[in-house]
């Protein structure tokens, strides 16, 4: 029935003279096709990966009611709440104050088993219709993680996307009891320390800090990670003062330093436009305090407007 609708038929719809300029019928027909649920419920239900079938069900239908799962969830959350409560009596962030004071290095993420991969999420331009591939697995002896795949810069043929070719791995936001957001507090440290083994490709490290306004939700602080291709491991130490502010990948004019008291996640992105396979092996990601590094922010801030 939908296919039989031709362009002259559609033109009879009021205020449709402009529709005659439409060449591709598919997106147009999809927009006027009747659906079982209202359009608003579908567009606001969340992200749908391209290629996944569209769920034409109302939101309350999609909930899976399972009493045993719910009870297990409640037990887990109350257990977490109890642990958080008693951790307060130990010290800040569950550690004694003396340990907090003496700590100069802290390993934040390490890969010691398949459970470590649950803390990470991977993504590539396949989300927007591209052809890259990305996979994450635990390395040999359960000591490292291996991020590998194939980068392909061919843009998807949808008529509007011009650039493509990215692969990324990002840590998930830590959650406290009852799925409340928890933050990493790195204010005692000033350097990011990674032990990695790459294939010579340049990566981008992105640190996502907590923001307040919705227009800041895509803000991230980025810096470059140049990998050596050799069989030897690479210890990379990047001071946090070097990270610059970007929004959706675009470097901002109004720069400021990264505030370390509420960090949500860290991510690695590859987008060097070199098609082909890639590999990145990560041993650990940690933070450390370098007393010799006293720089607050590496970039000068220029006054763009006359001072008021």
């Amino acid at each position: 029935r939908l296919i039989q609708m031709s362009l002259p038929n559609i033109s009879r719809v009021p205020a449709s003279r402009l529709l005659r300029s439409v060449r591709d019928l598919r997106w147009l027909l999809r927009s006027i096709a009747p659906l079982a649920v209202p359009r608003r419920a579908l567009t606001q239900m969340g992200y749908r990966r391209p290629g996944q079938p569209r769920e034409d069900k109302p939101p309350w239908w999609r909930v899976k009611f399972d009493l045993s799962k719910g009870l297990k969830g409640m037990k887990r959350h109350f257990q977490l709440l109890k642990e958080e409560f008693f951790a307060e009596f130990v010290g800040p962030m569950g550690k004694p104050i003396i340990e907090h004071m003496l700590e100069q290095n802290q390993v934040v993420w390490e890969f010691r088993g398949p459970h470590s991969l649950q803390e990470w999420t991977i993504s590539c331009d396949r989300e927007i219709g591209g052809k890259s591939e990305i996979y994450l697995k635990i390395g040999k002896n359960n000591e490292t993680c291996l991020l590998y795949g194939t980068l392909c810069s061919d843009p998807p043929k949808d008529g509007e996307t011009r650039y493509s070719g990215y692969c990324t791995m990002r840590a998930k936001q830590p959650l406290a009891s009852f799925d409340r957001k928890k933050y990493h507090d790195w204010s005692s440290f000033n350097t990011l320390h990674l032990r990695i083994r790459g294939d010579g490709r340049p990566w981008m490290i992105n640190i996502i800090a907590e923001t307040y306004y919705t227009h800041q939700k895509d803000d991230m602080y980025s810096y470059f990670l140049y990998t050596r291709g050799g069989p030897y491991w690479q210890d990379v130490k990047i001071p946090f003062s070097k990270f610059f502010l970007a929004h959706r990948g675009r470097v901002q004019d109004d720069q400021h330093r990264l505030w370390l008291d509420k960090i949500n996640a860290i991510g690695f992105t590859l987008g060097d436009k070199a098609d082909g396979p890639f590999q990145l092996e990560i041993d650990f990601i940690g933070v450390c305090k370098d007393y010799a590094h006293t720089e607050d922010f590496a970039y000068e801030k220029y006054k763009r407007n006359p001072e008021v």
Partner: protein, 325 residues
């Protein structure tokens, strides 16, 4: 910020507080408070970082809500009693609303949740203004409201002492610790307000002196975290030896100044047959004392790891005249 704008804002801060001090009409007092709020907003967003903007937004929301409630309460008092005079606040509903609005203004529990986040986003100087100067005008109004029943003030006071102590228990950010310290001290002041207003003034004045000194010490050593406080001995050794006195004074330990208001408040509460309230206030103050002691411990009583270059600033920076010539 140009000196002209900066001085305009500072003068506006002064004018706002003075206006509230000098007024007997609720409208004028409210106006003075609003001038104060509006004057400090640009000072808070000076640094343009997202955290400062967030702090300013939260501060504005809290203060605007409180101001609206205060104005509504004053108007309803005028409606019921026919008087706009601050000293003639007789209607119970208006009086309660005003108290709650002013409690939110100064950050008394249970309306205190905006305070630590706001302080965390500000520079130490702006935090100092927020903790000291911005409390004067609302406190002046609280002082003038004739208390019909002491229960509300006692409840606010006790809750603030508990919240201030419990909230600052495991903080490592100095600005948040100072925010919780402020909440706890305001609790002590409000606790005794119904029985002996001069004691509230004594407590307030000692709080102002101690908080100003502590903020200034942190500004001189440029520390905002407990770990950077622990290496501040290398910057100004004399200050490192004196700051624990300020901290323990805030904690209320004799024979330091901060003990005086607490002692007198406990004595007055006992005279009013409120020994239980006095015991509870003293016990919950132990939480606050714990984190003041912890700060003293990390700053002065321990020697944390440092590198040789980090131990030299006191030799190289002659601008701090805290060493004997």
């Amino acid at each position: 910020m140009t000196p002209l704008i900066y001085s305009t804002l500072i003068i506006s801060l002064g004018i706002g507080t003075t206006l509230t001090f000098a007024s007997t009409h609720w409208y004028l007092a409210w106006m003075g408070i609003e001038i104060n709020t509006l004057a400090i907003i640009p000072l808070m967003t000076q640094s343009h970082s997202p955290r400062a903007t967030e702090a300013t937004t939260k501060y504005f929301f809290a203060q605007a809500t409180a101001s609206a409630t205060l104005l509504f309460a004053a108007t309803s008092n005028a409606f019921f009693t026919g008087s706009w005079d601050i000293l003639q606040t007789n209607n119970p509903l208006s009086y309660t609303l005003m108290t709650l609005a002013l409690a939110m203004k100064i950050g008394l529990a249970p309306l205190h949740s905006w305070m630590p986040e706001v302080m965390q986003g500000l520079t130490l100087l702006t935090g100092l203004i927020l903790s000291t100067w911005q409390k004067l005008a609302p406190f002046c109004l609280i002082y003038q409201i004739q208390p019909h029943s002491p229960n509300l003030f006692m409840a606010l006071g006790l809750l603030s002492i508990v919240a201030g102590g419990w909230g600052g228990f495991n903080q490592v950010q100095l600005r948040k610790i100072l925010a919780y310290s402020s909440i706890a001290h305001l609790g002590w002041m409000v606790l005794i307000l119904s029985f002996s207003p001069p004691l509230t003034l004594v407590a307030f004045s000692t709080y102002l002196m101690m908080t100003f000194s502590l903020f200034y010490s942190f500004m001189m050593t440029k520390t905002t975290h407990i770990n950077s406080l622990s290496t501040s001995w290398a910057k100004i050794p004399t200050l490192t030896a004196l700051t624990p006195l300020i901290l323990l004074s805030l904690g209320g330990l004799p024979p330091l100044t901060g003990f005086l208001p607490k002692w007198m408040i406990l004595q007055e509460l006992t005279k009013q047959d409120l020994a239980l309230v006095a015991v509870l206030a003293a016990l919950f103050s132990l939480f606050s004392l714990y984190f003041y002691l912890r700060l003293s411990y990390t700053m002065t009583l321990t020697m944390p790891p440092n590198n040789p270059a980090g131990t030299l600033p006191w030799r190289l920076n002659p601008s701090h005249n805290t060493l004997p010539p």
